[in-house]
Amino acid sequence: MDLIEPFLDFSFLRRALAGSIALALSAPPLGVFLVQRRLSLIGDALGHAILPGVGLGVALFGLSVVAMTAGGLIAGLAVMLAAGLLARGGPLREDASLAGFYLVALALGVAIVSWGPAQLDLLDLLFGSVLSVDDAALLLMAGTATLTLLSLAAMWRPLLIETFDAGFLRAQGGQGALWHLWFLALVVLNLVAAFQALGTLMAVGLMMLPALAARFLSPHLAGQVIASVGIAVLTVLGGLILSVQADVAAGPAIVLAAGALWLALLLAGPEASLLARSLRRPHLAR
């Protein structure tokens, strides 16, 4: 009972739990696609890129969800678009341009936060604080999850084809860039929605770690997407309980829980884990 009691006593914990579960439904499926697109590190880059927008939003309009969200979204989308467009025309590939942009964005963000009003705590921005999840933030998280899941359902086929064989979709006149950009916009939206509870850096963990862990549960993309959601929901529950019991910030607690599950599945998951590969079952006759 001790585990559940704090959630009954404190409404901010219940809001954090509900919001995190909402994002656990939507962020990991994006992570599964990012892994297949060899863009596992792009979440990190976009997470950093959000920072100057959030900092500027607070500096100009005060500490409100709307200001921070709008600022973060604009900054994240701008960096994503700029990197994507530059990659099309220039000699550097998308990940290289993105690396350049996010380093500048991170520095700019830290500069803005340190120069701006004292009410903004850089640590809270980077690692989150469940105390800051008010009703507006909760609505943002739930809305993001809804939009993401509906979008994924609608663009499943083109996104899948574009991920597997972008040249084929282009040759078929399938508007590959459109799906790619919409997908990346969803990634930005999920990171922005998550950062109040988890922080810009830790939000990436909820997206990527369950996606990585899901690889050891299913050989099929659809199976991995479903598995990643299950892992993420467990992770959020375990992480928030750990956070309350051990008095650790929620973001790191959730990411550590996800990391523990990932390592466990890496070692002993049913698909292609170290254990599954080391078990020498007799080979078949045909």
Binding site: A154, P158, F164, D165, G167, Q172
Partner: protein
């Protein structure tokens, strides 16, 4: 199914100003089956990419007779695809139905039947739910042919489709090519195996950046022509001057 003729008029494709395909004019007749032959670096892949509109022409034009570029079936060279991608064979083959089904619609019952037929036609019966990662290189190429079958394209462009494929797989896939040829589709394939070309392809285009010969295979692939093609310098000449080829004059002379 009568595809329009593909007419090339003075086509030049250049990379960093150096021509890869140089002043190529000619015509792929409807329903023709042409092998594009030539040494490495002769512009064979560039020609196919120009035909599907993937590279910009430096000069000249290609008349597809109103056929949109995306209506052509194109199998790139040893497609640089991730063969460990977590998909089943049927899902990959079904991508060929994109033009018919679009981004959202579910596959109809006849389309599912066509999917099964296509897998059977390339010798992958029973592979529908096999993960991609379990396929050999030859089986993967068969799967790409199944996807191409489902595209139902009037014009098919194949870039070295039989590289790294054993003789039995080649024979099976050749059967698919013959079927397409019989259905009146235009086939253009880049190939290196001259015996195969002589046996299966009525027409050949011998390319060494410049066209060396284009016509009936026996007349195009003569020893003299092949020797001339081999003389093509592969290296870039850093000191090359701007090309002074006069298309109008060449046309008057012809």
């Amino acid at each position: 199914m009568t595809p329009p003729p593909l007419v090339l008029d003075n086509v030049t494709v250049a990379y960093a100003r150096h021509p890869a395909v140089h002043h190529l004019s000619g015509r792929f007749a409807p329903g023709s089956m042409t092998a594009v032959v030539g040494p490495n670096g002769a512009g064979k892949t560039s020609l196919l990419r120009a035909l599907v509109g993937e590279v910009r022409l430096d000069q000249g034009r290609i008349d597809r007779g109103g056929l949109p570029a995306h209506a052509m079936g194109y199998l790139p060279q040893a497609a640089a695809l991730d063969r460990s991608f977590p998909l089943a064979c049927a899902e990959v083959a079904a991508m060929g139905l994109w033009a018919a089904a679009g981004p959202f619609r579910a596959l109809s019952r006849p389309e599912r039947a066509r999917l099964d037929d296509a897998l059977a036609a390339v010798g992958l019966r029973g592979f529908a739910s096999r993960p991609l990662a379990t396929l050999s290189a030859g089986q993967f190429q068969r799967l790409l042919f199944a996807r191409l079958l489902l595209q139902d394209a009037p014009v098919l462009l194949l870039d070295e489709p039989f590289t790294a494929v054993d003789s039995r797989t080649t024979a099976d896939l050749i059967r698919v090519l013959r079927r397409w040829h019989g259905e009146g589709r235009t086939i253009i394939a880049v190939l290196h195996d001259l015996d195969l070309v002589r046996a299966e392809f009525p027409e050949a285009l011998l390319l060494a950046r410049e066209p060396i010969a284009w016509g009936r295979t026996a007349e195009a692939l003569t020893p003299e022509n092949l020797f001339r093609a081999r003389l093509m310098a592969e290296a870039w000449d850093e000191a090359a001057e701007p090309c002074r080829y006069d298309h109008a004059a060449a046309r008057r002379a012809a």
